[in-house]
């Protein structure tokens, strides 16, 4: 029981921080950089990706003992493609505005390396429950990075936060939009693709800085090895 709990804790840590798909594995950069110009679309794509990861990991784990090893990759790809199609059709039916806003990037989730990566690296080797949980955590980690990027870029670029939330959540969500400031000149670069790369770079740097600080704190006192110098060193 104890070790089971530890396994799940480890999965949370891996997915959200230590092995975060966006910040550490740098997988799925194309949607990460392309749709994160506002918090609402970032959240939409993040949730969709999370759902896809959860479902594909579950299915792949369920069929892992029946798939011949030699053709596992095509099978996984078929599974992923069907799941993405289902989610795309669902979004088409129930969230048409968001579906239009995200456009090509919903079908492109198929090509997101995280999905096939987790299927191959984790789900095909583990039981259903841990696999599903891993998919959920990786998806959450990815969605969190997407949302952070989206929020930062939206605040810098257009001075609002969560504009267009009604596309995602329905009409009541218009109240969620926060107008932080009104500028005559928008900082266009933050909304354009180069801004995504810049903000992404700063996010990765921030994560590394936090890691370095934690590592420095947790560093145990090193035992110094004393050794006698036998060669002459001229200075």
């Amino acid at each position: 029981m104890e070790s089971k709990m530890n396994q799940y804790q480890e999965l949370v840590r891996q997915g959200l921080w230590k092995n975060n798909p966006g910040l550490v594995q740098l997988l799925g950069l194309c949607p990460l950089l392309a749709v994160t110009n506002s918090l609402a679309s970032a959240l939409g794509l993040g949730l969709a990706t999370m759902l896809v990861l959860l479902s594909t990991n579950t299915v792949v784990s369920l069929i892992r003992n029946y798939v011949p090893n030699e053709i596992r990759i095509p099978v996984f790809v078929m599974v992923i493609a069907s799941v993405v199609t289902v989610i795309e059709l669902l979004m088409h039916a129930f969230m048409y505005n968001l579906y239009q806003a995200l456009g090509i990037f919903i079908p492109l989730i198929v090509t997101n390396c995280i999905v096939i990566g987790r299927a191959e690296a984790f789900a095909s080797k583990n039981a259903v429950l841990p696999a599903a949980f891993d998919g959920l955590m990786m998806g959450t980690g990815f969605a969190l990075v997407l949302c952070t990027l989206g929020a930062v870029r939206e605040v810098i670029g257009s001075g609002t936060l969560f504009a267009g939330a009604d596309l995602l959540l329905g009409d009541w969500a218009k109240v969620l939009t926060i107008h932080l400031y009104q500028a005559d000149n928008q900082f266009l670069l933050a909304i354009l693709p180069p801004g995504a790369f810049l903000v992404m770079g700063f996010l990765i740097a921030a994560k590394n800085a936090v890691d370095a600080r934690i590592a420095a704190k947790a560093k145990p006192v090193e035992q110094k090895i004393s050794r006698a110098r036998v060669t002459h060193v001229s200075t």
Binding site: N185, Q186, F187, L188, P194, S234
Partner: protein, 354 residues
């Protein structure tokens, strides 16, 4: 006893970075003076703002990185970056423009890449591109040269306009840009581009007062002043002839061919050489020792690439002037150029020979 053994080159000019940078700043003085005469005292205020921002940012980042702040600040490289950016943006642009640009140049483009000597891109030009892409309107709001301005602007007007967007007598930037007929005037390059797209020929377009003599009222003299500064730098051996000659030669060559083929839809080569930022870019920006190519042949290729790109972007691109983009694109190719133009080491055979 120990002998001091240094690697080659054994003879070099004993000039420090600080001295070189100071010479660059001195060489830019005539250009700045002419610019201030034709385009208003605003350029001096922009300079002041840029230099203050650059020094503050440089000092802050150096302190964060645990470097010796005073020594590094006094190499004046931040000063030159600030100077190049300040003269590149319109004289009466709002104050935050130059502040954002300089901070980006120093913090992101220069220091995050590892400080002086490690930056891949020319900091001033990267910042200019950032500003141009982000704020296209204020970045292209050049006032017409002084003889064409309807309102005469004094030093106080420059302060008012830069900090409040309105001159002391209450004119906005777009009003200040208007001619006697109330039509706002663009830079010569911009005017020519618009006219050509509307079906005028070059000759018809050139009759407008904004072109003045040869290449634009005021712009010709600004370019001439930077040319003089550049020749001073050459004479002082701060820069070498290869990059500027290659830039100007290739810009001249491309525009000459285009002009021969279709003189009605292309500007003359002399217009290209003496308008916009040509001379400033050829002598002061492309010759940045850090982000330019370092081999002799490489410098020729690098300069020719900038000139060619500048011609293509000026003629077919969406922005009126092109040197910032051309320099940045050429900066990207520098590692490749340097790789293929490595000089033969003494004692080794050249790659082709057996």
């Amino acid at each position: 006893m120990s002998f001091k053994i240094a690697s080659s080159p054994h003879q070099h000019i004993q000039k420090t970075t600080a001295q070189l940078m100071k010479l660059v700043a001195v060489a830019a003085v005539p250009g700045i003076a002419v610019q201030a005469y034709f385009f208003g005292y605003g350029v001096l205020i922009q300079l002041l703002l840029a230099i203050i921002t650059a020094l503050l940012c440089e000092a802050a980042v150096l302190a964060l990185r645990g470097k010796k702040v005073k020594v590094k600040l006094l190499d004046h490289s931040a000063l030159v970056t600030a100077l190049l950016l300040a003269v590149a943006i319109p004289s009466y642009a709002p104050w935050w423009l130059v502040v954002i640009g300089t901070a980006f140049a120093i913090i992101v483009v220069k220091q995050l890449y590892g400080g002086l000597g490690n930056n891949l891109f020319n900091p001033a030009m990267a910042a200019y591109v950032l500003l141009l892409v982000s704020f296209p309107l204020p970045m292209t709001s050049w006032l017409p040269a002084a003889p064409l301005q309807q309102q005469s602007l004094g030093p106080a007007d420059a302060v008012c306009t830069i900090f409040t967007n309105f001159s002391c007598s209450g004119y906005s930037i777009s009003q200040l840009r208007q001619d006697a007929d109330g039509i706002s005037m663009a830079t010569p390059l911009d005017t020519l581009k618009t006219d050509l797209s509307q079906g005028y020929t070059t000759e018809e377009s050139m009759k407008k007062p904004v072109f003045g003599w040869l290449s634009g009222e005021g712009w010709f003299w600004v370019n001439l002043a930077y040319l003089a500064g550049g020749l001073f730098l050459l004479q002082q051996k701060v820069i070498q002839w290869r990059i500027p000659v290659a830039v100007l030669g290739s810009l001249f060559g491309f525009s000459f061919i285009a002009w021969l083929i279709s003189p009605d839809t292309n500007a003359s080569p002399l217009f290209q050489l003496f308008s916009g930022a040509t001379m400033l870019a050829a002598f002061f920006i492309a010759t940045d020792p850090v982000s330019a190519s370092t081999t002799e042949k490489g410098r020729l290729v690098f300069g020719a690439l900038i000139g060619g790109l500048a011609f293509v972007i000026r003629s077919y691109g969406g922005y009126p002037d092109a040197f910032a983009f051309a320099v940045m694109l050429a900066n990207m190719t520098v590692p490749l150029i340097d790789y293929y133009t490595q000089p033969r080491t003494y004692g080794h055979k050249s790659k082709g020979a057996r």
